[in-house]
Symmetry: C2
Subunit: 403 residues, 2 copies
Amino acid sequence: MPEVEWLEGGVTAVPGILAAGIHGGIKAGGKPDLALVYSSVPAAAAAVFTTNRIQGAPIKVSREHLKGGAAQAIVASSGNANVATGEQGVEDALEMAQLVAAALRIPVGRVLVASTGIIGQPLPMEKIRAALPKLVKALSPQGSRHAAEGIMTTDPHPKEAALRVEIGGRPITLGGIAKGAGMVHPRMATMLCFLATDLAIAQDALQAALRRAVAGSFNRISVDGDRSTSDTVFALANGLAENRPVRRGGRGFRAFQQALETLAQRLALMLVRDGEGATRIVEVQVRGARSRRDAEVAARAIANSLLVKTALAGEDPNWGRVIAALGASGAAVEEDRVALWFGDEQVVAGGRLREGALRERMKAELAKKEVLIQVDLGLGHARDRIWTCDLTEEYVKINTRYS
Amino acid sequence: MPEVEWLEGGVTAVPGILAAGIHGGIKAGGKPDLALVYSSVPAAAAAVFTTNRIQGAPIKVSREHLKGGAAQAIVASSGNANVATGEQGVEDALEMAQLVAAALRIPVGRVLVASTGIIGQPLPMEKIRAALPKLVKALSPQGSRHAAEGIMTTDPHPKEAALRVEIGGRPITLGGIAKGAGMVHPRMATMLCFLATDLAIAQDALQAALRRAVAGSFNRISVDGDRSTSDTVFALANGLAENRPVRRGGRGFRAFQQALETLAQRLALMLVRDGEGATRIVEVQVRGARSRRDAEVAARAIANSLLVKTALAGEDPNWGRVIAALGASGAAVEEDRVALWFGDEQVVAGGRLREGALRERMKAELAKKEVLIQVDLGLGHARDRIWTCDLTEEYVKINTRYS
């Protein structure tokens, strides 16, 4: 790992990046619901989208615009996802890009679009039309937090992070904002994340680095097992650091990829911490698996088990539920080889309660705000990890009356 | 479908079947926690067990005893699942069979065993040893309900059903008891079900009929996506109807298989209705799928989505969540071909809100105690259906403090 220095300022910590967030009339109560991230110069652009077969209209428009490989602005709305809205939805997403492009005097193909919120309702375009010029005027080099607020739905807190890392002898800045909350899951969530850097990097290298960073961060978290139609991670690299452009597999690529993953991971953990109703963050590590795939499915099965997650909410050392989830995961499991730890306390050895394991110590481990569950399958050398949160009555309360 | 007549009396409606349920000291508060089903003559025996890779000790013992193809008794305990208990667990399960066999004066190999409850604790064998002779003494031809109570964990109600059907010109009785509640899921749940009939049938035919009946009933319900280590369905056929024995594929087989499935389905729906914290039962039908597998995964994805299930608890017609779950299911989906109904009210046509769909009418459909969600994928002719329940704060409350 290259050494990183954490910075204030989120996405606007990056030279040449401005941002804004305002209330445009989508959400009730005057909360910010429009966000803009802008690079003062054209940037290499990369994206990772949801794997859901039904995808929001903004994703369709952004995919088109990404074909050029460059972008200069990301416009986003919250409160309405513009999904399952047919042709009108695509026209509306395109119009958002057009209006922002006109106000910024850049080609429409350099504007990416994202939306999050309720599915199946047309966007209130009259209000959005009136608000977008104001959004552009609000752009500021300290605008990261406002933009982070502008993409929130049920998130309790705005999420932003930035870091500096040395690549090829130069200090490079990376920053980003994200939103998550409900529907956070394996292989993307209702999750938006906009990353930026001043690194000069070839577009295909940026795309490769982003794909790997997402695999190690947003695709390793889980709140409730649902996958959204709107998940989007964008990355802009504007080259203002004036380094010799980084190429795929070339010098500096690995350092950048790792720094990008580190940043994405920090934002991903903020998402888990803010999971709807969550009171603690839980890291599930599985090792000793026969294959990487087995390690992954075992870790996901534990992280997604409602019975495990509700037990965690109650700080209840009901380790049998972990064992049951493991057995149901589909991974190769031999009962008498399974070992399990809550934090540092070994609970299970050889598939059964370890002699001398103390319930009080298990409870103490589960009472922590950051809980570690480790499983050793004793069958091989593969490992994986997934972050999740507990499941409380509050989650159900939030989601019982949403629309 | 053969015509069936529903009967009172549960499993003991079947000639030659006696049952009992008593408190043996496993559960606190004097509730029944031991159950026994007994056939006055040896019966052909069949079973379907959990697909969880970690399986309870009683399953290991029952598998051995089933090799003989015949059984005469099923002994079950609740409150403790005897899972992840190592060699001692297997010895304890075997001892339960031995004690029952001795009291009934039958070979130990004719006793099947099942347990449900907390994982990882040794059975309180001293108490069970003292109680099993009392359990045998309590056997009665009206004992079905007591036995149904003896296998309950968090189930609010005991579950029993019986029916009469004509097979090969003779009236045949089928009866059963079941327990479910938490962890009810695709491909078996913490779910015990003991079925019996007076039909004379070859053992392999009974096994084939049972496997199909389970596929169409218990494997088509879902409460919370977890699969238990203890799921067991047993079937005993004691032949007291003195019909010419039914053979696989022979005369009467299909009628029996359908009657068995009808009985199992009624018990399965009782399980869903009693899902932890559930306030309504939901049938998810998917048709127009490209393949049967696609229909199944799509229906399961909707039935298992926490966001769908919490919306149902709130009678919230948030159909976008159904669409999102569908898209995430992995089934082939083309957005503009999707149609969706809540009850009789068509909500989505061509992938978007149907013109004229009324929110108030959607809400009225979701307010029912039995909700129907229908999806037409518009891609083929395959169909499937899954029954589930809503997810309420009560579910979380029950599962936050269990052990």
